[in-house]
């Protein structure tokens, strides 16, 4: 489990970073989305991963077998904030595109 998840996080990070360094705003926003998946999974993973041990209390549930709920709460916050910032970045890149006429991240076609 850990290995698979770690490789997955690594690949998502790699793809995200690659896109983050591209010149088109759309690439950057896709990259940021991929990166936030990777980071959310990373936060999620630091609590240790367990299958079928959701932190929901019920009759006769042994607390010690449940996963750490804290990273889950942190990821939830991170998802929300990630959504918000993606929306904002999108609108800003649209505004920049409207004002500069290009979708290059530097607002001009040929840097330098």
């Amino acid at each position: 489990m850990e290995l698979v998840l770690a490789i997955g996080i690594g690949i998502m990070t790699g793809s995200g970073v690659w896109l983050l360094l591209r010149p088109r705003t759309y690439q950057v926003i896709i990259g940021l989305s991929l990166l936030s998946y990777a980071v959310n999974l990373f936060i999620f993973a630091v609590g240790g991963v367990k299958s079928n041990a959701a932190p929901v209390l019920g009759e006769g549930v042994d607390i010690s077998t449940l996963t750490d709920p804290v990273p889950h709460a942190l990821v939830l916050t991170a998802i929300v904030i990630g959504f918000a910032t993606t929306a904002l970045f999108l609108v800003v890149l649209l505004a920049a595109r409207g004002l500069t006429g290009t979708d290059h991240v530097d607002g001009r076609e040929q840097p330098k």
């Binding site: 299958s51 079928n52 959701a54 929901v56």
Partner: protein
């Protein structure tokens, strides 16, 4: 006995669905046209939903049900938006 039967059938189901998802993902990246990709995404959504339901049976817990329900109920919204974008070039007019 019932454990064994279930174990076999659950594994079969999961493998089938995983292969199905893989095929959908392949179509998603191959296209060739945008409509193929969108349809592939929709298929991937449905397959994931089924996989999660099978996972629910496997674990015997129904707290994973809502995730499937969300896909079943809301998953089409994204696809609708994509389809509308293809047809009209604009999602909301």
């Amino acid at each position: 006995m019932s454990q064994t039967i279930l174990a076999v059938s659950l594994t079969f189901a999961q493998v089938c669905l995983a292969i199905a998802m893989a095929l959908a993902a392949l179509r998603m990246s191959r296209g060739p046209r945008a409509q193929d990709r969108v349809l592939a995404l929709d298929t991937l959504y449905v397959n994931s939903m089924l996989l999660l339901m099978v996972f629910g049976i496997r674990t015997g817990k129904d707290i994973y049900f809502e995730a499937s329900l969300v896909i079943g109920m809301l998953g089409f919204v994204a696809t609708v938006a994509l389809a509308k974008f293809l047809m009209r070039g604009e999602v909301i007019e």
